[in-house]
């Protein structure tokens, strides 16, 4: 069967939107320093991030560790409270929900898959309990038979068959790939409309990784879930996402349709990120622009463009004024003075 790349008919319906999302973490100082220092330092983890995710779309957030991509994901679920900004889920600002019961209702629709299945699954709960827990909290099943069926179905969906064989095992009796599948089954069991996937396969071996991704894509298609896919691996983002946004030090520097961004990157950071990824082809002769240095501290981000300290094209203006994220064409945004004319 010839492989046809997923062509989705995306409706214009927006599932989730963030507007100028900001999260600053207060930096804890020692007792003496607190007395002496005049102002409290903040870690600028997320600094004004806006994006829209359409219904059924997989939106990728790509960047190095410490760029704020995981924090962004957590803000969308209110696992971390934002300092500022709006998160609209189907038009409702979820940050305005004050009651615990309202937030709980929302969580039925929004779920998350964490990075490390060795940490995200409770070692003292059986697979059945792990997957049944969200159903019980949300009171989805009316009786134990129904609960049983829903859990079995969830395991089936992730190819953990026969379900009876896996239900009564504990996480330590499963391999890494199986564990992550249980974590995915738990996230999908409530049939959420929106899902945050935070590096769901980075802990897995390559051969197992592609199988888990395939199952994830299958479920996504079946339930038409919208996704925020967080990853540091731009090659993987290319495989999974419809659109991607590249983050650097708490800001989105470029966003657009995945293929456009990867085949024709505009921002120098995106270019560097792509050039740094090794490719499984020894004959590929590539010009390697390896940028020097490391990501500056998010406590005192450099003035102007945050990438100016490492950028090979840095100009005078980059050190003074921060470039805004501006549209280049209908679906493409970039924050760089090289492209602002």
């Amino acid at each position: 069967m010839p492989f046809i790349w997923r062509v989705k008919d995306l409706t214009e319906e927006t599932t989730l939107e963030t507007r100028n999302l900001v999260k600053h973490f207060e930096l804890k100082l020692g007792f003496f320093k607190t007395l002496v220092s005049k102002e409290t330092p903040y870690v600028h983890a997320v600094d004004g991030v806006s994006f829209k995710i359409k219904k059924g779309e997989i939106f990728g957030l790509v960047g190095e560790s410490g760029c704020g991509k995981t924090t962004t994901g957590r803000l969308l679920l209110r696992l971390t409270e934002p300092t500022q900004g709006e998160v609209l889920f189907k038009g409702v600002d979820i940050l305005s929900l004050a009651l615990e019961s309202e937030v709980r209702k929302l969580r039925r629709k929004i779920q998350i898959i964490f990075q490390d299945p060795y940490e995200s699954l409770n070692p003292r709960m059986s697979v059945f309990d792990i997957i049944a827990e969200p159903l019980q909290i949300q009171k989805v099943a009316s009786n134990s038979d129904e609960l049983n069926n829903l859990v079995a179905e969830a395991l089936n969906d992730l190819d953990l068959v026969p379900p009876e064989e896996f239900m009564y095992r504990f996480p330590h009796e499963l391999s890494g790939g199986q564990r992550q599948r249980v974590a995915i089954a738990r996230a999908f069991v409530l049939k959420p409309e929106f899902m945050v996937a935070d590096e769901p396969v980075s802990m897995l071996d390559a051969s197992i990784r592609s199988e888990v991704l395939k199952l994830l894509l299958g479920l996504q298609k079946k339930l038409h879930t919208s996704f925020l896919y967080i990853t540091h691996d731009i090659a993987l983002a290319r495989h999974m996402c419809d659109r991607i946004a590249v983050m650097y030090l708490g800001k989105i520097v470029e966003k657009g349709a995945t293929e456009d961004v990867i085949l024709k990157p505009l921002h120098p950071y995106t270019e560097a990120l792509i050039a740094a990824v090794p490719v499984p082809d020894p004959t590929a002769r590539r010009i390697k622009v390896v940028i020097k240095g490391q990501v500056p501290s998010a406590v005192n981000p450099p003035p102007g463009c945050r990438f100016n300290t490492r950028c090979p094209h840095a100009m005078e203006i980059c050190r003074k004024k921060e470039p805004p994220l501006i549209p280049i064409d209908k679906n493409r945004h970039v924050a760089c003075y090289l492209h602002s004319s």
Partner: protein
């Protein structure tokens, strides 16, 4: 091409309460002078165990059962521990360990740790060794003034480079790099890889690079051995091996990696899980997960044999003449 290290029919087992785990089972490879060999495979396929055997730094329950490891005509397997420590380890073969973050001692400065390695292995004064430590750090792109830094004061990439500097301390002929960049970010990974590659060509060092990341091996190595369940399934020069893989496992593994270049392709997955090495499957160890599995695959183990293609070896009945 002059050969530096040859490993022949190496068998390395771990004794456990449930029996012996055949981590490395009849593995042969060769490292030529100034060349890099990539050992690739999934976790638990025996690639690290094979490398540890080369410098005889095995965990207490690991044993080399059989085989020959020849470095310039001398068999390391037959050598006494004392001799290996004095003459081979670090001086001729050194190692860059997996997870440099944990390979450094947290309460000593990096300068001290490198100096210690030099003084222990060579007959030099401490002052001289310290000077050399500074030079080594410069070689890997860390300012010599940072010798007095403690590991926690350095970033992940710098620690990895410090560990690389330590591996170079006694001017070895062969460096074994075990997943040298796994815990690092892509850009830092590219920086560290560049340092390792440059050093390799500048200092005339041979290298064994162990990685589960085939793209890294494709970019760094001259030759590659693909391992599966304690055995080498395919072995040969990197370019033909990656452009025209023969073994079904190699084919699947290469296609399991997404690429940022070229047209978008579907990723293949390998059904099932790697086998338990306490009790590996009969015949070809890959047969339960193989699409092309035939009757003979269950019964007879395919030998690693030369194929028509130049210097390529593959262990698969699809290419062998062997019949039941």
């Amino acid at each position: 091409m002059e050969s530096l290290l040859t490993v022949e029919n190496l068998k390395m087992y771990y004794d456990t309460l449930r029996g012996s785990v055949r981590a490395v089972d009849d593995v042969s490879f060769e490292v030529n002078k100034r060349q890099a060999l990539g050992l690739a495979g999934e976790s638990g396929c025996g690639k690290t165990s094979a490398a540890l055997s080369v410098i005889k730094m095995l965990p207490s329950n690991g044993r080399i059962i059989d085989g020959k490891i020849t470095l310039d005509g001398e068999d390391i397997v037959k050598m006494k521990e004392d001799e290996v420590r004095k003459r081979i380890r670090w001086k001729r073969i050194s190692m860059i360990f997996q997870g440099a973050m944990n390979a450094l001692h947290p309460t000593y400065t990096i300068g001290y740790q490198i100096t210690e390695a030099i003084v222990k292995h060579e007959d030099v004064k401490k002052r001289e060794a310290e000077e050399r430590a500074g030079k080594l750090l410069e070689l890997v792109g860390i300012e010599a003034s940072k010798v007095d830094r403690y590991p926690h004061e350095l970033s992940g990439g710098m620690k990895q480079r410090a560990v690389t500097a330590m591996a170079l301390a006694c001017d070895p002929d062969l460096i074994i790099a075990d997943e040298p960049t796994t815990a690092l970010d892509v850009i830092v990974q590219a920086q560290v890889l560049r340092v390792i590659k440059e050093l390799k060509s500048r200092l005339d060092i041979s290298m064994i690079l162990i990685s589960h990341d085939l793209s890294m091996i494709a970019e760094t190595c001259d030759k590659s051995a693909i391992m599966y369940a304690g055995k080498i399934v395919e072995y040969g020069d990197v370019v033909p091996l990656f452009t025209e893989p023969l073994h079904p496992y190699t084919q699947k593994l290469i296609n399991a990696f997404p690429s940022v270049l070229g047209p978008k392709k579907e990723l293949t997955s390998i059904h099932g899980f790697p086998p338990d090495l306490l009790n590996p499957p009969s015949g070809c160890r890959f047969h339960p997960r193989c699409e092309h599995s035939m009757e003979i695959c269950r019964l007879k183990e395919p030998a690693l044999t030369e194929t028509g293609k130049k210097k390529r070896q593959v262990a698969c009945h699809l290419y062998g003449e062997s019949k039941i």
